[in-house]
C-alpha cells in the first residue's frame, strides 16, 4: 500500500520508490531512484519511467539540465522536523521552474501537509503507519497565508492594499 495523497484524495500509482542503490528493479518499472543512481543511469537500459529522489542536503545544480524531462521529483524528510525540504521545493518550483510532480517522502504526516502544499509539493506519501485518509484534513488546516510562496505567489500585504 502506498498511502498516497494526490489531487486531494487517497490514491495509488505505479511509481516504486527505490531507497537504496543496491535495490534491484525491472527495466519496465516506473522507479524513483536515489540521486547518485539516477545520475549514473543509462537511459537506454530503461523502458519504464524514471524519476529521482533527493536527500535534504542535495545540490540542485546537478539536476538543472534534466529538469524538463523529469516527470517526478521526490524530496525526502528523514524526520518531520527537518525543514530543508521546504526550501528545496521552493527552489525547484520558483527558481528552476520545475513543473512536474513534486512528492514528499519519508516522515510525512498530517500536521506538515498544509505547509508542504504551500511550498509546491503536489503529492504526499504519508508515513506507512498513519492513515492517509485521516491525513487529508491536514491540507485544509489553513485557508490563507501571509507570505508569497508557490501556492499563493501574491503576499497578503499586496492583496490587502489592492482591495
Amino acid at each position: 500500500m502506498q498511502n498516497l495523497i494526490k489531487n486531494d484524495a487517497v490514491t495509488e500509482d505505479a511509481w516504486r520508490l527505490i531507497r537504496s542503490e543496491d535495490e534491484s528493479y525491472d527495466a519496465a518499472e516506473d522507479v524513483i531512484l536515489p540521486l547518485a543512481a539516477w545520475l549514473a543511469l543509462d537511459p537506454a537500459a530503461r523502458s519504464g519511467q524514471t524519476a529521482v529522489w533527493l536527500a535534504p542536503d542535495a545540490d540542485l545544480t546537478v539536476l538543472w539540465p534534466a529538469l524538463a524531462q523529469l516527470p517526478l521529483i521526490a524530496i525526502d524528510f528523514p524526520a518531520f522536523t527537518d525543514g530543508r525540504g521546504y526550501s528545496l521545493a521552493r527552489l525547484l518550483r520558483e527558481r528552476y521552474g520545475y513543473q512536474g510532480e513534486l512528492r514528499a517522502i519519508g516522515d510525512v504526516q498530517r500536521d506538515q501537509l498544509a505547509y508542504l502544499a504551500r511550498v509546491g509539493f503536489t503529492v504526499f506519501a504519508i508515513r506507512d503507519d498513519r492513515p492517509a485518509e485521516a491525513a487529508l484534513d491536514g491540507l485544509r488546516d489553513f485557508s490563507d497565508q501571509y507570505q508569497a510562496t508557490v501556492l499563493q505567489p501574491e503576499p497578503l500585504f499586496k492583496r490587502r492594499t489592492q482591495r
Partner: protein, 552 residues
C-alpha cells in the same frame, strides 16, 4: 496599535482549531510524545517541572488594556492568579492544564492574541524598543516594520522547521534598547546619505552556550527589500545550519563557521534571485501598516505643570520614583511610566491578575488604552501627562508597582529558574531576592546608580546574564546549586559579553560577593562614572582580588 482584519482573525482561529485537534490526537494516543512536542512548542506550550507552561505572544511588547484584562481573566480562570513577563516581551502562565490550553487560545483569539511560535525551532516573537513611538531619542518608529515582520514570520510555510529557534529584534532609536546585537537578526533602522530609510542588518548574535555579538552583514538595506532579504537569510540558514547537534544549530554557529564575509556573500547570492520579487514592499504597503501606529490624540501641554513640580519638591519618595521609573517623552508635558515588577520578595517579572486589571484601568484613565512590556520584564504606561504622575505614583504604590529601582542593581532581569523550569541547574528567584534584600537601602542603591543585573538559571541564558554589567549564572556542581558571577557585559550600542570573575559561589555567598564588588566600585569610581564604566576602565583584576581575598 495594529488591528486584525478578517484574514488575521481567520488564520488565528484556524491555528487554534489545528492545535485543538493536535491536542486531542495526542491525548487519544494518535500522536506520540516525540511527535507532539515540536507541535506544542510551536504553540508556546512547554511541559515543565510542575505543570505545562504556556507562553503567549505579545508582539513587540504592544498590549491594549482590553488584551491585558483578558490576560488577567486567563490568569484567574486557568492559572493561579498571576503571570510572568519574559525577556522576549511575552507573558507566561505556569499552571494551565494541558486539556484546557485550546480553550485559553480560543479566548486569546477573541482579543487578537495567540501563542503562535512563542517556542520551537521557528521564527519567534519579534521584539523592539518598548518605548518605540514615544521615545524622545527615536529617529524612526520601527513598529510598522515589526508588524510586517510579524506577519511574514507567522505560519511561514518554508521556515517552520528550522535547525533551531530564531529571534529578530528591531531598533529605531539612537540608543539601542532592543539588544539587537545579541539576536539571530538585529535590524537597525537607519538613514543613508541620500536620506533614504533602510536597515543595517546584524546577524549571528546570541547568548546561550556560545555567547557572541552579532556581525553586520549589510550596512544598508532599503526598506522595500526587507522581506526578500529576510527570506534569503532564513533560506541559507534553513539549508545549511547544523541539525546534528542542537548546541551548534543556531545561526551564530553557521556565521562563525563560514565567516561573516562568506555568509554575507551566500546571502547576497540567494537574495539576487529574490530581490524585487513579489514580496518587495511598495510605499502603499508600508503606509498601510504605518497607519496603525499614528500618534494618539495628544494634548498641547506645557512642561512642568504645578501638579507635577510641587510634589516633586515636597515628596522625596515621589521624586525618586520620577527619577528612576519615568522616561522623557517625545511630546512636551508627557512622560512614560515604568511599572516595576521587581519588588523584593516577588519573582522578577511576575504580575498578579489584580495588577493587570489595575494597570489596564490606568492605561484607559491616564493614557490611550495602550501598554508595553519591556524586555527588562517591566510593564510600561507609554503616555502619561506630567500632571497625572503624582496620582499614578500613588496608585502604583498601592498595587506594589512603584519600587523605584528601574535600571538599578535590584531591577534584576531574571528567568524563572529551578523553581519552575525543568532545564535550570539552579534556582534564581531566592538568590535574586537575597540580593534585593542586601541592597534594600534606597539611598545606597541610588548612589550606585545604573547597573544592569541579569540572572540565568542555566546555560540557555534566558535571563541574558552575559550582557548584564553584573551577571549571574546558575551552575550544577555534583547536584548542588552554585552561582558564577560575570562582570563587564552590556547591552545597547556597546554590546559586550561579560567575563567570569572566578570560581562559583554557594547560594548564601552571592550577596556578599555583590557587596564586595559594589564596595570596590564606590572606592574606585571617578566622579559621575557608572559601574560599567569603572569596570571597563580598571578591568576585572581588582574585582577578582577583592572578591576572592582571604578574610582576615
Amino acid at each position: 496599535m495594529y488591528k486584525y482584519d478578517e484574514v488575521d482573525h481567520r488564520l488565528v482561529r484556524e491555528r487554534v482549531e489545528q492545535f485543538r485537534d493536535q491536542t486531542r490526537r495526542y491525548l487519544a494516543g494518535e500522536l506520540s510524545e516525540d511527535e507532539f512536542r515540536p507541535l506544542r512548542l510551536m504553540n508556546g506550550l512547554y511541559v515543565q517541572r510542575h505543570a505545562p507552561m504556556l507562553r503567549v505572544a505579545i508582539p513587540y511588547g504592544h498590549l491594549s488594556s482590553t488584551q491585558l484584562r483578558k490576560l488577567s481573566h486567563i490568569a484567574r480562570t486557568y492559572d493561579r492568579g498571576y503571570g510572568h513577563l519574559t525577556t522576549r516581551q511575552n507573558i507566561q502562565f505556569n499552571w494551565p492544564a494541558l486539556e484546557r490550553v485550546p480553550d485559553i487560545l480560543a479566548e486569546l483569539a477573541e482579543v487578537e492574541m495567540h501563542a503562535i511560535q512563542t517556542s520551537g525551532n521557528c521564527v519567534r516573537n519579534t521584539t523592539t524598543d518598548a518605548f518605540a513611538g514615544v521615545a524622545a531619542d527615536e529617529y524612526l518608529d520601527g513598529r510598522a516594520y515589526c508588524e510586517i515582520i510579524r506577519q511574514w514570520s507567522t505560519l511561514h510555510p518554508e521556515f517552520a522547521y528550522l535547525p533551531r529557534k530564531f529571534k529578530i529584534a528591531v531598533s529605531g532609536s539612537a540608543d539601542d534598547r532592543a539588544a539587537t546585537q545579541v539576536h539571530d537578526i538585529g535590524l537597525h533602522v537607519v538613514k543613508n546619505d541620500a536620506g533614504e530609510v533602510g536597515f543595517k542588518v546584524i546577524v549571528g548574535g546570541g547568548l546561550g552556550r556560545t555567547p557572541l555579538v552579532g556581525k553586520t552583514i549589510r550596512e544598508f538595506l532599503p526598506t522595500r527589500h526587507l522581506l526578500t532579504y529576510l527570506d534569503a537569510v532564513l533560506r541559507v540558514y534553513n539549508r545549511f545550519g547544523r541539525r546534528d547537534n542542537k548546541y551548534k544549530a543556531r545561526i551564530k554557529i553557521l556565521v562563525q563557521a563560514m565567516t561573516p564575509e562568506a555568509f554575507a556573500a551566500k546571502v547576497e547570492d540567494e537574495w539576487a534571485h529574490l530581490k524585487d520579487g513579489p514580496a518587495t514592499l511598495r510605499d502603499e504597503d508600508v503606509a498601510h501598516y504605518a497607519s496603525f501606529f499614528t500618534d494618539p490624540a495628544y494634548e498641547q501641554l506645557a512642561a512642568n505643570p504645578e501638579a507635577f513640580t510641587v510634589p516633586l519638591v515636597s515628596d522625596a519618595a515621589f521624586a525618586k520614583w520620577v527619577a528612576r521609573n519615568t522616561r522623557s517623552h517625545k511630546r512636551t508635558g508627557y512622560r512614560s511610566v515604568v511599572l516595576s515588577l521587581k519588588k523584593t520578595g516577588v519573582p522578577p517579572g511576575d504580575i498578579t491578575a489584580e495588577q493587570m486589571d489595575a494597570a489596564a484601568d490606568w492605561a484607559d484613565r491616564f493614557g490611550f488604552g495602550e501598554l508595553r512590556v519591556a524586555h527588562e520584564q517591566n510593564l510600561i504606561l507609554p503616555d502619561v501627562k506630567e500632571s497625572d504622575l503624582y496620582e499614578v505614583w500613588q496608585l502604583a504604590r498601592q498595587h506594589g508597582f512603584a519600587t523605584p529601582n528601574v535600571g538599578l542593581l535590584t531591577d534584576i532581569i531574571c528567568c524563572p529558574g529551578g523553581d519552575f523550569c525543568s532545564l535550570a541547574n539552579a534556582r534564581s528567584i531566592p538568590v535574586a531576592e537575597a540580593i534585593q534584600l542586601k541592597f534594600d537601602n534606597l539611598d545606597y542603591l541610588f548612589d550606585l546608580g545604573d547597573i544592569d543585573c541579569n540572572f540565568s538559571g542555566c546555560m540557555n541564558a534566558c535571563g541574558h546574564h552575559h550582557i548584564g554589567n553584573i551577571g549571574i549564572l546558575g551552575v550544577d556542581k555534583n547536584g548542588e546549586e552554585w552561582y558564577q558571577i560575570t562582570l563587564g557585559g552590556s547591552q545597547g550600542n556597546h554590546t559586550a559579553i561579560g567575563k567570569v570573575i572566578g570560581p562559583s559561589f554557594a547560594q548564601a555567598d552571592v550577596p556578599l560577593a555583590f557587596e564586595k564588588i559594589m564596595n570596590l566600585y564606590v572606592e574606585q569610581r571617578l566622579a559621575g562614572e557608572r559601574f560599567i564604566e569603572t569596570v571597563r576602565r580598571i578591568g576585572l583584576e581588582p574585582f577578582k582580588e577583592r572578591v576572592y581575598a582571604k578574610s582576615h
